[in-house]
Amino acid sequence: MTALLEVENLTVGYGAAPVLHDVNLTVEPGQIVAVLGANGAGKSTLLRTLSGLLPPQTGSIRLDGHDLRKIKVEHLVRHGIAHVPEGRGVVTELTVEENLRLGGLWRKPQPSLEPIYELFPRLAERRRNEGHQLSGGERQMLAIGRALAAQPRLLLLDEPSLGLAPKITAQIMALLRDLRDRTGLAVLLVEQNVRSALSIADQGVVLSLGRIVTRHDAATLVDDAELRHAYLGF
């Protein structure tokens, strides 16, 4: 089986000091990979590079074996990649429904939003509200829901737990695991909240100062006290 996403020797930076250095990473279909690390480790830069918002200095990014760098950012959804950016990226001037429609707009015919509303009943209640009227948790649901409306194969999630109550974070994590199990969705999850990320991840990758310092099965990372102390600090 070829990997869904394959990142090789990726170096990204603005000049002499690269933000990411020689990063290698694979995501298999139906796999949840958690990228962990402190603030400034380069996690968001990694996701932004994967979706083409930042140009890499060297290295290759392949989706199903095809060079992703040749694909324009706005064509990424057509190849099955949905990116939920840091800070959620809800278009606050648009309503909930408009945000969701935007997610599936490139598909013809446009998909029904009902499955999304079933997944997030709260969004159905607020469908006429504008983005700026939503709470943080609702915005996160909206951002994920909008990404799912594109019916992706690979979801790039940037800090979904940021600023959310633990209960809501847990709900969102459970939802991701459920989606993976039901639809075979692959997720590349960037998180500072190590515990909740590892609770659903298959693999954990620890990023520090732009380099991958360790990579293990999520279970191993959680169970091995030495690894945990060394890289995750708990």
């Binding site: 918002l53 990424l76 959804v77 990116h83 278009v91 606050t92």
Partner: protein
Amino acid sequence: MDRFVFLTFDGLSRGAVYAAFALALVLIWRAARIVNFAQGAMAVATAYVGYSVADATGSYWLGFLVAVVAGLLLGAGVERVVMRFVDHSSPLNGVVVALGLVLIIQGVLGMIYGNEFRPAEAPLSRDAFEIGGIALLSRYDLFVFGAVGAVVVLLTLLFTRTPTGLRMRAAAFAPDVSRLLGVPVGGMLTLGWALAAGVGSLAGMLVIPTELGLHPTAMDIVFISAFTAAVLGGLDSPIGAVLGGLLVGLLLSYISGYLGATVAPMAVLALLVIVLLSRPDGLFARSKARTA
């Protein structure tokens, strides 16, 4: 009283044109955070094209259509060739480039058509109907209302009811996120400029027969009035632009009617100063407008 009624209708007719022109300014402001100071010059350029076609074919309506289409193309061209490459780290850069375009357009028009006023006939009678002895509206006024009304309705439908409209709004509000969602942001920007310039050209075709005629600088004062209308409406709000346009039209009509036409430009300036200093977010601002 008769005079007041007449001036009111005249003001609404003028105001409808300012509304359309202000709407064009707002369209670009929302899409690109640029006040298109070249819009007046662009509208004049397409009006020259329209009247040339009308003279050559004998059909005003064909000329009108050509002018609007030329506006769409010119708007797209200006965005693709020039504005796309402007560094927007300072809001002044876009302004300066637009002003450079004003010089180019006015220079080229002067070279081709000369710097004299050329007569521009209205296609319909501008004599007002009288109802009960009171002069109300002319056929031309009705045409103006119809054309501007159609534009407002069509734009509203486009932005609220179509996928393209949704894409355009999303691209304007959050370009990076929109690209991740598959919206061709660059294309939407071009489309926004095209639409705005098309609306500007339509407004130009409507207003030029009511003024002194065709001249490279014919839209300078109209631009100032429409800019005032757009600022009055909040610069971010299409509805505000339309209301602002009607208000400015009425005000100018009363001032020209009661105090003399030469006072009108000063009145616009005074109004602009008052609005900018007292309500910089516009009269109809619901929430605080974004800073430029």
